[in-house]
């Protein structure tokens, strides 16, 4: 079925290219994971929301970016990872068959007692397994990064404040995490916990309250909607006033309200402008800040299953794309012809996919792109994706088979 000798030689000739691309891809995906910072992303989102043009373009994708997987899906698995993998596949597919026929070095393999079909099947095997290994490595590096940078795999890690408080209380992390009232009961513990989180004590106590409620699965007592709206309007008026005093953008201040608390003048101006009692105003600010902390805790939530599915999908997409490049590499005797279609078609698919996302007028382009079948958003967002995966896999198998058959039957200028 396959020739070990030819596989070895192919490996020797091609492993460097593979190593370079795999290395770059692994580092890129690891970087996206490592720099993921929920607070930063949300403030970026708010900024973007205020720019109507860009907001239109990015659309619903914004919300999905607020988790590691969402961000990966929108960046690495939509752009860098796919295009790099594609370039690798295009170059390798061409060098495995068409370029060797073009240069004539295939003559040596084919003048030995080995069937043509065995030669070409071995080359196909190399291409498929190199893409597979590429994603196995990217996946492994990604998982390690998730653990190292965010403790996202083994979540029994305790947050920094719990650890600090436990030290003060001289109790185990587990005990303290299990009963946060222990921290609330001890002023020193609250101080060091707040310090560990980099927030003030009031916010921290509010946070602890919210956290305990969340752990217990209790809904926050709701404020009647009409009253809520009034308070919110007054609160925003306060923020605007404070922003003027601090000479910053109101929207910036809204995502970083710690600044108001740090400036007495801003606080006074804000309370005056809002017309709310100072206590209430401070409570709302604290509540907002505590909420930010809570979402920070959620940011490291990471579904290993979704991550693996994301990688499986990317592999299947590249498997299907590689089958296109491989087919044309088998069909043509000249590298340039093989590249024209073997590179041209997959790159066109990629560009159509990008165009279809840019604006609704170009949306129909997604129907002519294979890349549409791998939608990271559907995997992380609970959409259907198995049928698409099956289509990609089937297409790949069919085109590889056709490539092998064509090569077996064609004339070779050797």
């Amino acid at each position: 079925m396959f020739s070990k000798t030819i596989f070895k030689q192919t490996l020797k000739s091609n492993w460097k290219l593979w190593a370079v691309f795999t290395g770059i891809m692994a580092v890129m995906s690891a970087l996206v994971i490592a720099v993921f910072d929920r607070k930063m992303i949300s403030s970026m989102m708010n900024m973007v929301k205020n720019m109507p043009g860009i907001a239109d373009i990015i659309g619903d994708r914004m919300d999905s970016m607020t988790s590691v997987l969402g961000l990966l899906g929108q960046s690495f698995y939509s752009l860098q990872g796919i295009i790099l993998g594609l370039i690798f596949v295009i170059m390798t597919a061409n060098s495995l068959v068409a370029s060797q026929v073009d240069k004539g070095s295939m003559a040596y393999l084919l003048s030995t007692p080995i069937k043509r079909s065995k030669v070409v099947r071995t080359q196909a095997l190399y291409l498929i397994s190199s893409v597979l290994c590429m994603f196995l490595i990217v996946t492994s590096v990604g998982l390690v990064t998730v653990q190292v940078a965010h403790h996202g795999l083994w979540a029994e890690e305790y947050t920094a404040d719990v650890k600090a408080a436990a030290q003060v209380l001289d109790l185990s992390d587990e005990t303290v995490a299990g009963d946060l009232t222990l921290i609330l009961a001890d002023d020193d513990a609250v101080t060091s916990g707040a310090e560990a989180r980099g927030i003030d004590k009031d916010v921290y106590t509010t946070y602890l309250g919210l956290k305990m409620a969340e752990n217990a699965g209790v809904e926050q007592p709701g404020i009647p909607a009409d009253q809520m709206e009034k308070i919110q309007a007054s609160f925003m008026a306060g923020i605007t006033a404070a922003a003027e005093v601090l000479d910053v953008d109101a929207s910036d201040l809204a995502t970083d309200m710690g600044k108001i608390k740090n400036s007495d003048a801003a606080m006074t101006a804000a309370v005056d402008a809002s017309g709310l009692p100072k206590e209430l105003f401070v409570t709302i600010v604290n509540g907002q800040l505590a909420n930010d902390e809570l979402t920070l805790d959620q940011g490291i939530e990471f579904s290993v299953k979704d991550y693996l599915l994301l990688n499986l999908g990317a592999f299947l997409l590249l498997f299907a794309l590689s089958s296109i490049s491989f087919l044309f590499s088998c069909v043509f005797n000249l590298s340039k012809n093989s590249l024209m279609l073997g590179a041209g078609i997959p790159i066109a698919f990629f560009l159509f996919q990008i165009m279809s996302q840019v604006g609704s007028s170009l949306e129909d382009f997604k129907y002519v792109s294979l890349n549409t079948l791998f939608a990271p958003g559907d995997i992380t967002g609970g959409g259907t994706f198995w049928p698409q995966f099956a289509v990609l896999a089937a297409l790949g198998v069919v085109l590889y088979t056709v490539g092998v058959e064509v090569f077996k039957e064609k004339d070779l200028p050797l």
Partner: protein, 313 residues
């Protein structure tokens, strides 16, 4: 017994290119020269013999097996040297040799080592940096490492220096003595002259002549050029000898008073007897070599028909 058999092979690449109805066979132990100008169809024919191309009409077979269907079986017994050398660049010569040995299931490397020594090959370097001649010799070693019974060689000495060419021709003669069957495509007359038993000439995709090399080497008739001292002698020669067909006069140049005659070696005395009656300026043999013969076919201006006609005498 014919080892290589080409029957009515046709491959039309359009606009008159390709090969058309080519038939010949190479017998066991024979060295067969395959000659023709550039683009005549030699490489195309060899590709069919190796099973790289499928014939449009006709068949090619090796040891009775169809080249296309049983390509991997016939390759066991064939050593193929392609016209253009392209080796996998990522390897060193040594790696390439051991890969080819593995592909050919060779475990005993004595013959390979013998070839390496014979061609003074230094295979340890990377293939990318080898000179053309080194690549050639490496290709030669790997093509014959399994000591095949049949050698198919497409311009094997191009790119070799004169000394390596001599070594290679020596090698071919050794192989011939060992009973190998060899198909040799070449543009180098001396090489063909030194090795071939039979020769076929292909032009514009058609076989124009197949002959036994020795017939040409020891041609038993010779052409003589005669220049008469005067117009009178010349005219008298024509009326007395040419018109009564006492001698085979193949051409005359009237303004020079010259005539060419073709004479069997056994009739040479009667030629001298006849000529003793005339005043001559000179009398010379026109040497006819393999090269002259081939040149008729290579010459672009000469049509195939003319070439065949000239070849006939």
């Amino acid at each position: 017994m014919s080892v290589l058999q080409i029957e009515h092979l046709t491959k039309d690449y359009g606009s008159g290119r390709g090969v058309f109805d080519v038939s010949f066979e190479v017998n066991q132990g024979e060295v067969f020269g395959f000659l023709g100008p550039n683009g005549a169809g030699k490489t195309t024919t060899i590709r069919h013999i190796m099973g790289f191309s499928r014939p449009q009409h006709g068949t090619t077979s090796v040891n009775g097996l169809d080249s296309w269907k049983d390509h991997y079986i016939i390759h066991k017994d064939v050593g193929y040297l392609p016209g253009e050398i392209a080796l996998p660049e990522a390897l060193t010569g040594t790696q390439f040799i051991s890969m080819m040995a593995e592909l050919r299931h060779i475990t005993d490397m004595t013959h390979t080592d013998y070839l390496i020594e014979k061609f003074a090959l230094e295979p340890s370097g990377g293939l990318k940096r080898m000179s053309l001649g080194m690549k050639r010799t490496l290709a030669i070693v790997t093509a014959f490492m399994h000591d095949p019974q049949i050698l198919v060689l497409d311009e094997p000495t191009s790119g070799l220096d004169p000394m390596m060419q001599d070594i290679f021709i020596g090698f071919l003669n050794e192989e011939k003595a060992r009973g190998k069957t060899i198909l040799l495509s070449s543009h180098i007359f001396s090489e063909v002259d030194a090795t071939c038993d039979r020769i076929a000439i292909i032009k514009d995709g058609r076989l124009v002549s197949t002959f036994v090399a020795d017939d040409l080497r020891h041609n038993e008739s010779k052409t003589f050029k005669i220049e008469f001292a005067s117009k009178e002698d010349f005219e008298r020669f024509r009326t007395e000898v040419e018109y009564p067909q006492k001698l085979n006069v193949i051409s005359v140049k009237r303004h020079r008073n010259q005539a060419r005659v073709l004479i069997d070696d056994k009739d040479v005395n009667s030629l001298i007897a006849i000529l003793s009656d005339y005043h001559l300026n000179f009398f010379t043999e026109i040497k006819f070599t393999l090269e002259d013969y081939f040149m008729k076919f290579y010459d672009e201006n000469q049509s195939v028909e003319e070439g065949v006609e000239n070849a006939a005498h």
